[in-house]
Symmetry: D2
Subunit: 295 residues, 4 copies
């Protein structure tokens, strides 16, 4: 493989993903706002850019893995942004968790410039990224998806296609985070009910995750919630609130009431008000304990 | 095996369970308020009683599998109830989903009479009961649990022990139903958000149940919710409301706020107000569609 | 006036009410479970009974002002209860806040015995009771209501009639407490939003209670909530929870979802879990502060 | 009085307000995006501008009464906006219901240009505006407030001062709309509980609004809710949702969970999903009826 990929955003997730692409044999140019984070990749063979546009080739492929809508706009638009340097025929694989609304705008802008915007947000924590065990929801133009398929295969263990509208993949991604947070709230309430009745939280956890809820979401987050041990931090309360707010924004836009999402928003907000902004999002379940007057 | 078991309550769940015990070689006496439902068991070799006490032997074992607290009290207490005929040394295996509060009272009453009350509520639909694939949460006196173990093994695929307090098993059971209903609400909201954004519900279902939520609860109920096809009815809205109310009653008693359980109570109540009382409880997710103005 | 009234229940509310009836010229027999509380009334001219039935005359009038359903049942039914001694033609004026369901049963039982049950729950704190400024919701048989009218006039400043079904008056009473608690929650959220934005709580209170919300409910409770000063205790969190639960029980019975009532139930429960059981119910608004991480 | 006031925004509220200023003797220049709406004012003596800046005098006073943040930005900023034409020493009285966040930005921008931004949002329906019975919450620079006081006096029946931070007045305004919507939800739930118990809604309304809740908010909105008659439309569901969302946005910004506001947001969203976007906001209470399965 001789294709060169531009990779922008080398955080907890982006860094191991970029490493995997290097390992898979791709040439790579990397950019990160905080340049110091590029060193690992440079050591592994990537070239460093100092502006987003530096890592983009006309007609090439660039991947972005960023924290939020603002960051994606910042590296895509403007004089040093990737958009103008990418066309024609280039593909922007946007793997960040951003709003469906921004995905719609981005897809349109890219098409107007003669290139493609493929949304490919991922499910999985940094360990999963490192182990190539991400799950990917993709959506975008069929030709573009076909071309980027080998790249996505090098990053994850499974790809789910959601059609041509890029925004669809983002709807699915934020829905997934909503489902996870919902499961945490439910376990938090159930285990606390148990505890106050004199039942061991971990015993309940064992039954449920060996039977009806024998799946990664309940096993991984349930363990933390049952044991009230929320270390290490994988994904912060603050970021979780951002995502639940993306859910609520989309719900508002398409006029679809989501009372459970609203509750989660307040739960997270309350945790943040109590100083847990940078704690793991599973700690939202601590709100149940607060309300029940226990620790 | 020559032990004779009394079995009371031959509904959708109790009937296949009793059949399995017959198949396992136990002698059996059966009672059901509606006597006609005993015929299948009698044809299979059981003896029919016309009062609850008819199926009880002094020092023997009796299983109850009934609809609610009232039914359990009705067959246990009173002149024809099983309690007085069971002692001394007998064991009452109570497999119904009843309130932790009633379990506490029952355990005490049985102990006062010199016999044991083992709570052993089950997880699983009628098909699972027939296939001996129930999961059982048990709690009660250690000796009693030891004696009834072969019987429970003949009914389910796994037993989880929750100590000596019978009520604990019931707390776990109602918590499980709460977790299931929570998952349904969450999927209902997520799939509807998707639908209103133009994403296929079943596509979302596929991704989630093959990845983070690859477990029986999400697979079985999620399919119904994604497809909006709630047939056949396995467990009614009305019974689900009963169980969520048991959760809320227990939460009130132990002073543990459960906002998600409260929401589910209102969701079910609203479905019942719209005439869905006898529909499957997964149809609680239709409330999300109602609120979103779609079908 | 020479009519003798039996009065049962001399708590914070009952005591000043009974005093007012003595002042109005009625003869009175009083009963209270804790007999020591009868002394004030006896000093003022009432006769003391040692059993509920002692204060009842055949065909006479008895008033009950008690804490809850259980207390009302205890003094009404049974061998020393008022019901058997009251008939025929007697009237039981039930002024306690009890469940509509109990009111239905009581009215039926009284009618079966040839006497009347008039529900006449009141709005107002102990000071209002002392000042004859209670508001009364009444319901029951027309003849009975006519006969007791002078008595109720001696207790309150206004009477609202809700027809012949006694339970109706109780529905109205518990709905009133629900409306009050709802207003407290709303003010709690609004004033805290203000505070966190740098707006003085008391300034907001002033605007609202001089304009749109210039009424006793907002003025009296709003002042406490704005100033975060919940002393003295007029009506406890525990009793408020009892009433909101009566609302939810009735809502369940008539199949009418009440999400705001559910929320209030959790709000009160959480306050109680934090040790505020005997604090004034306006302190439910402290839950908003807890959630916002401020004092 | 010879001062000339610029007035922008002649909708249901702005039009009667402008008329009152003309009546009070002010000279007036008016602008409205839909110019046809200026005719009434022109007939009454005002001069018409065709751009926002046309109605502004250097150092003068301009009032804006617009639908939302976007509209306020549109007339204030930009080449034809009022801001550049107003300074130095001019005052912009912003009476619209806008976000506290925008008020903060606007105040800063105006100060940078050497003029003042006074927030003066109002409480009251169009009838109240016509009758000079608005209540006004004001905040801004003391000098500016002093100069505009006679103008505000000509528009309302009372002015409440919230200090120097313009945004504070907007926090109060949106909090007021939140309190109103909360009261509607509460009454909706209470009256429906009554109805399903067989109690007349209007009877409940009468008791509550003659006693604890004898105030304009409960009297005016309660009547509609009790009678289920939501005509005529004074303030639409869509605008109410906008305001509740301003509340939630501010709550998010200052990290203050507001579960009741979240619920109202979903209630309004659901009404809009059912096609009630342009109905009166008191019709949010119809959601309670929907949930209860009645009309």
């Amino acid at each position: 493989m001789t294709e060169t990929i531009g990779f922008i955003g080398l955080g907890n997730m982006g860094s191991p993903m970029a490493i995997n692409l290097l390992k898979a044999g791709y040439n790579m140019r990397v950019y990160n706002r905080d340049l110091s984070k590029t060193q690992t990749l440079v050591d592994a063979g990537a070239k460093r850019g100092v502006r987003p546009s530096d890592v983009v080739e006309h007609g090439g492929i660039v991947i972005t893995m960023l924290a939020n809508d603002e960051a994606l706009e910042a590296v895509t638009l403007g004089i040093d942004g990737i958009l103008t340097h990418l066309s024609p025929g280039g593909i922007h694989i946007s793997m960040s968790t951003v709003s469906p609304d921004l995905a719609r705008k981005m897809q349109k802008l890219h098409e107007q410039q003669g290139c493609h915007y493929v949304a490919a947000p991922v499910f999985g924590r940094p360990e999963a990224a490192a182990a190539r065990q991400l799950w990917i929801a993709e959506a975008g133009h069929p030709e573009a998806k076909k071309r980027v398929r080998p790249i996505l295969d090098a990053l994850g263990q499974g790809i789910f296609d959601f059609g041509e509208e890029a925004a669809n993949a983002n709807v699915v991604k934020i829905s997934g985070n909503f489902l996870l947070a919902s499961a945490m709230e439910a376990m938090g309430e159930a285990f606390t009910l148990g505890e106050k009745n004199g039942v061991e939280r971990t015993k309940m956890y064992e039954l449920f995750t060996q039977t009806l809820f024998a799946c990664p979401a309940y096993k991984s987050y349930g363990k933390r919630i049952a044991e009230k041990n929320f270390e290490p931090v994988g994904f912060t309360m603050q970021l979780a609130l951002k995502d639940i707010n993306l859910v609520l924004d989309s719900a508002k836009e398409v006029v679809s009431p989501m009372p459970l999402a609203s509750h989660l928003s307040n739960r997270l907000l309350s945790g943040i008000a109590r100083g847990r902004s940078d704690r793991d999002w599973s700690e939202l379940s601590r709100g149940v304990l607060d309300d029940a007057g226990i620790e």
